[in-house]
Subunit: 261 residues, 2 copies
DNA sequence: TGGCTATCTTGATCCAGATCAAAACTGTAG
DNA sequence: CTACAGTTTTGATCTGGATCAAGATAGCCA
């Protein structure tokens, strides 16, 4: 097996870019961990924050290592993944813009975080962030809220991994991406919607607990059934949203905020 | 199929017992959500708290319903479970004494919480708890810490559900119970240790994403290999802890605090 | 003590998804 | 345009765990 689509060592040094933007202009300002913060708190964060870009395949945090940074995804998609000794791999979370990466209050990362698209992060030094966190209830409150949402999403995913069929798994996955593409608010998914797929087939397989071949076959099946069209390998067009929802089985109707991570 | 080992309606009215103990004497005082609280905070909680007992099979919270209570498990084991429309069921978390049940900041429960043994809970009215939470940073800090631990455990479980074989799954499960039985501190698992299993075969199957028959066969296999002995259906004796750890595959070496929930 | 019922084990067979193998695409560098 | 390397699709076969079907075991109550 090749090292996989999510290569650990692509040799790309991440770009460092310090404080080019002020928080007020930030695209994720109203959804990120800082969204409850007062101007005073924000000023504190602004002093410490810095930006960094990652190429696809670059590791943002590494399982088992002492993580020195944590922060929010501004743009791009990050996969959280765990790997068994023999190389079997499971993606245990997808992280989208405004979501938070990193575990305050525990230095050792329990999983890898790998950029699956070009990623831009708003980062903090871990110990500095923890110090600010301890003093700022709004920040802590928002972080708690976000972690509770992620926990719900993780449990929803456990149901998928433990009990759903391959068709249900891929349909659920496409439904999530569709909801995200459809609107950040609660708009339903309309037929004809084109949904970009930011993952390779291999990454999808690792997310769904399947093989790459099964994922490919399920895509073909959904196309044959006229549920979706496949204009390219990195996008689908929803032809029958109702049927896709049915195929996905129950769940996800209500997971409002953080769909997958 | 029968309604399963985890029956929703066993007709048992939960016992109500108000404030029989003071927090200072509480067995889970040093591990629960209140463990960082000052005496002043504790007094607030003590005013609001009440105890309730549940028989095996009783629902503590119900998926989709507006939950009015949340709180800590004092004694017993609770399963968090999600069910698909056709009845397929997945246990998405096991909750042990000192763990917290319920989602502050969201009224609708995303899963059932069902007692699998006789359970004693220390409960709070949800809105009252939220009010106290908003004012007491120590409580919020501890809750955040616990939710982060649960999130790590949930992701570890996603790896198991998505990628591990039946043997690895059952071995991992027994390893977790063994660690918990061995010591609440970090003591290693010794050969000869008798580990009680608080779940029926059906509940184990629902936790591991397997069928009851496969679970039973894996038990028999582990016995045949002299890895464990089965003195009764509700306990195992560890004969070869090293081998059990190997069979479990990687993971769980470091999950210190909250093993499963 | 002996049925009765629920739980668990074991055996036989089946099948969804894995594995093995080979085309068919899709860039992209020369 | 062409060669090459990575990705995706499709086909053929295999297999781990599911499903179907009996038994075995263990409470528990009459």
């Amino acid at each position: 097996m090749s090292k996989g689509s999510v290569r650990a060592l692509s040799g790309t040094t991440p770009d460092f870019v310090y404080k080019p933007h002020c928080c007020a202009d930030c695209a994720i300002r109203h959804r990120a961990v800082c969204s409850y913060s007062t101007p005073a708190e924000l000023a504190l964060l602004e002093q410490t924050k810095f930006y960094r870009n990652y190429e696809p395949g670059a590791e943002i945090v590494t399982e088992g290592e002492n993580t020195k940074v944590l922060g929010s995804v501004i743009d791009g998609v990050v996969a959280l993944q765990k790997t068994l000794a023999d190389g079997r791999r499971q993606i245990v979370g997808l992280v989208f813009p405004s979501d938070f990466i990193g575990r305050p209050l525990r230095p050792i990362a329990p999983y890898d975080a790998v950029a699956v698209t070009p990623v831009r992060m708003c980062l903090f030094d871990r110990s500095k962030f923890e110090a600010i966190l301890a003093e700022n209830a709004n920040l802590e409150r928002r972080l708690l809220e976000m972690m509770l949402d992620e926990l719900d999403a993780a449990r929803e995913w456990m149901l998928l991994l433990g009990r759903k069929t391959a068709t249900e798994k891929l349909s659920s996955f496409l439904m999530i991406l569709s909801r995200r593409a459809s609107a950040l608010n609660g708009m339903p998914v309309a037929n004809g919607l084109e949904v970009p797929i930011p993952l390779t087939r291999e990454a999808i397989a690792e997310f769904l607990g399947l093989t790459i071949e099964t994922v490919s076959r399920q895509f073909s099946l959904l196309r044959k059934r006229k549920v979706v069209d496949l204009p390219s390998k990195r996008a689908v067009i929803i032809l029958d949203a109702t049927e896709l929802q049915t195929l996905a089985g129950s769940g996800w109707e209500d997971v409002s905020t953080n769909a997958v991570a």
